[in-house]
């Protein structure tokens, strides 16, 4: 999926996969797409383990495959870098902070979510999460969408998911269907392009 890897990259140490994903797990609030800014920083910009395109591909696949998207992405990146053990290290890294934090808080401080300063801090953090995702979206749209068809797909995907939810239309369109729909569009374009080429 990426064409821009020319020289042989040095082998990534397994512990680096573990610690990078531990940072992702320890500092993302909300999970899912809220992780994207952190993943971009740790896996694309800082290390070049994967490209922006690959990260988007993993998200698309994660949307249609079972499980938590964070785990899916960690497994993909780890596998690509260091095979099975890399996948295991990255996955363990992304899960470990959650496991430790929840276990400790549940055992020692079960009313953590009701503590006043925690609630205040979270109201701030939620704003930051929104800003960070918005910045990522703007960057993605600017860098990754190259033609009119891309813009149409992007806007359509946005409206299909955001509109029913915002206007409280009483139904929801699952992102899974959007992903499947877009995949079909891609396959159809390829099919007709090939047929057109043959004539």
């Amino acid at each position: 999926m990426s064409e821009e890897r020319l020289e042989a990259a040095p082998v990534t140490p397994i512990w680096k996969l573990f610690t990078a994903f531990m940072r992702v797990g320890a500092f993302t609030f909300g999970g899912g797409y809220a992780m994207l800014p952190m993943l971009e920083r740790e896996c694309v910009e800082k290390t070049g383990w994967v490209t922006h395109d690959e990260l988007l591909d993993y998200f698309a696949i994660g949307q249609c495959t079972p499980g938590v998207i964070a785990v899916n992405t960690a497994t993909f990146v780890g596998k690509k870098q260091r095979g099975f053990w890399g996948a295991l290290a990255a996955t363990a890294g992304v899960v470990l902070p959650s496991f430790l934090i929840i276990t400790l808080l549940t055992a020692l401080l079960s009313n953590f979510a009701e503590v006043t300063w925690v609630r205040y801090a979270l109201r701030g953090i939620r704003v930051a999460v929104g800003v960070l995702i918005l910045n990522t979206v703007i960057k993605l749209v600017r860098e990754k969408i190259k033609d009119a068809a891309g813009y149409i797909l992007c806007v359509l995907a946005f409206l299909l998911v955001a509109l029913p939810q915002t206007l409280k239309l009483g139904f929801k369109i699952s992102p899974v269907f959007v992903v499947i729909g877009a995949a079909l569009v891609g396959a159809a374009r390829c099919f007709f392009a090939e047929r057109g080429g043959r004539k």
């Binding site: 591909d57 800003v131 068809a149």
Partner: protein
Amino acid sequence: MSLILTLVLEFFKIGLFAAGGGLATLPFLTELADKYPWLTSEMIGRMVALSESTPGPLGINMATYAGFMAGANTFGSPFAGALTALTATVSLVAPSFIVILIVSRVLEKFKNSRYVKAIFGSLRPAVAGLIAAAAWTVISATLFNFSAATVGEAFLLPEIALFAVMLVITNLKPLKKLHPLVFIGFAAAAGVAMGYAFGW
């Protein structure tokens, strides 16, 4: 022992069938609360609150919490809770780990196929749209109160102000390259300060 086995089976099942992450696991966990004595619907409420107030993927946080409750309430010990929490978490993660290993092998094989390239070519803009929708969900829920009685109350001004400030500072040339967690920390501090100053 039978509790461990129950947890392995139940959470493996959740991990296998809850596609799309995080909140998709919630209906399954509610079902667990109906089925077993160690999880109650009150705990589910607390579980969501705690999972949303702590870092990490929502699905993992919730599985750890439910798993902890299973051991702690059955054996009355937090150490049993830690063990069952680990069991539940690992079981939840296992299916997606296995599925992705397989998918990634298949993808590696076909990545030069014209069809696969075309499919991902169309998927990427669509995923960008999905991420935009997720951004909109987070932002609208943070800045506006849709159930407010009056139009004036619908705008959460402290949040809107902080949003505007952060949008500017995260895009300033010298600050742009800072790690996202710096901004998360800044916003947390601003939240605490504003909370105590204005009584949010």
